[in-house]
């Protein structure tokens, strides 16, 4: 898909959804920074900024609706793009919500002594961040190959999730003083795992936009390159 072949209004829509993606990326990166660097001010920022993200989501909804009403004037690729945006926006918004939740856990964890070590959590966080960034890049470049590569990385995230889950629960059994903090971290890794899932869903939309075929719930999601 060539961005310049799109109707000007659809182009505006594209700018807006990608910018929303950028804001979600930013929220996630700050939320993880708040957690790993124990910076509660950063966490509070993430929570505060979420209203602005929700607002853009509603705007995008309305923009799509008003474009669809005039559907007769739009080319099939324009229409497909609008549908893609309609599907992608809620995923991005939910990613931002998960980032906000991570920030909330960070606030609680930062009031407690540091649970040493945060084990492989920073790696899992980095991986989820990369997946989101790659998914948005794939969306920007309408790059189905990149989208498929990104989808495959979800397995790595799931693997890390299970490993850290086991490590954290082992921690809890060993040291009862660590139970509360380890429990908070269990939530954090669940949020990260969900973010990676949403990044995967965005990638599925990219393939749909680029190739006009739905690959959701099919093995094709990761087999073709």
């Amino acid at each position: 898909m060539d961005a310049f072949a799109l109707d000007a209004r659809v182009q505006g829509l594209r700018d807006k959804v990608l910018l929303l993606g950028g804001q979600a990326e930013d929220s996630l990166s700050r939320a993880i920074g708040a957690l790993v660097r124990r910076n509660s001010a950063l966490a509070e920022q993430v929570i505060r900024d979420d209203d602005a993200i929700d607002l853009v989501e509603s705007e995008l909804d309305e923009d799509c609706a008003s474009l669809l009403i005039k559907a007769a004037h739009l080319s099939p690729s324009d229409l497909r793009f609008v549908i893609g945006v309609l599907r992608t926006t809620p995923m991005i918004e939910r990613i931002a919500d998960h980032a906000v939740n991570i920030a909330r856990h960070a606030l609680r964890l930062n009031d407690e002594p540091e649970l040493k070590p945060y084990i492989a959590l920073p790696r899992m966080a980095a991986l989820a961040q990369e997946m989101l960034s790659d998914a948005l890049d794939a969306l920007t470049q309408s790059d189905a190959a990149k989208a498929r590569q990104t989808i495959r990385r979800d397995d790595e995230v799931d693997l890390l999730y299970r490993r850290i889950f086991a490590e954290l629960t082992a921690f809890m059994t060993k040291d009862s003083a660590a139970v509360l903090r380890a429990a908070e971290l269990l939530f954090v890794i669940k949020h990260l795992e969900r973010i990676a899932d949403y990044a995967t869903n965005i990638c599925e939309q990219v393939v749909y936009l680029a190739e006009g075929r739905a690959i959701k719930h099919t093995p094709d999601a990761w087999q073709r390159d």
Partner: protein
Amino acid sequence: MSFRLDQYSQPLLEAVLGSLREGIIVIDRQMEVVLYNQAAVDVFNLSPVMTGPLRLIDITRNKTIHDGFRQVLEESRPFDANLEISGVQERAFSFRATPLLMPSAHEVVGAIGVFFDVTQLVRLERVRREFFANLSHELRTPLTSILAYVETLLNGAIYDSENNLQFLRIINKHAARMQNLVCDIADLSAIEAGEFRLEPVAIDLKAFVDNLAVLVAPEAEARKVRFRNEVAPGVQVQADPQALEQILMNLIINAVKFNRPEGEVSVTAGFEGDLRTLIVVRDTGVGIEAKHLPRIFERLYRVDKSRSQEVGGTGLGLAIVKHLVLNHGGDVSVDSVPGVGSEFRVRLPRPPGAAARAPALETAAAPDGACAG
């Protein structure tokens, strides 16, 4: 209204822009990218496969940048912001967008964005802020003690013959500490400003270190640390004697202070090729954790605050060492294993055509004035 460059101005403009260190992005009113330079490619980590027309959103998803450009297009006045862009590593930029006006058009035809990398400046600013915070702390601590003891004396303790002398000794000790700190700061700023004129001469290291051993002895004996001069005969260095004394004394006294009882400090030296002389100060002390190593040459950086109080020192010694060595055109580095010891390596110029035979030693003159020692 959109615009394009003509066929002659384009290559010229691209050559000029390509030579700039600042990232530059020019967009038109439709937020389409008209022009960008190599520095912008580096800033935004743009992939080479991105060919053909681009929109601003294809380059960055940063909201501040989009808001800035949009404001310039709508209000036609400049926009300034500080940004953090995380690519391979976190970098800080000063971002300025200005309206693009063309003589032929009556309105703003686009906007120019300039991205100036201020990562290093931000880092220096942090170092400066920390320096002043540390400095006021280092000065306040002895000053608080002095004021407290003076007040006690004024309130009658001066007639308390059992304690008055002890109080005066404490005041004296803290005043001396403040004086050392002020002197070191004066030295350091003179060295940094290049006002400390170096007069390098050929120096025989073995004899030079032997002279220092006399100065080190009281501190070493008090701490039961053995000092060994293992410099081979004939090794020379081209350095300013007073500066060299300051460099080596700082390193050796540190090695003694941060040692263990029955520990050892040794100085070795040798030529390194035709141009350099390597001096190594090794200790069997507490060592320095790897995470502190990159910062120990910063002014007033303390590895262990409580320990520093105990062993004294101004916290400026290693910064002075670094700058004196750099001013000689040399370098200083450190390796350390916690619990085993540290090794400081100083590389200084080797005297031109250094003779095999060691020349007579010029003893380093003791610095004059109140700041000596």
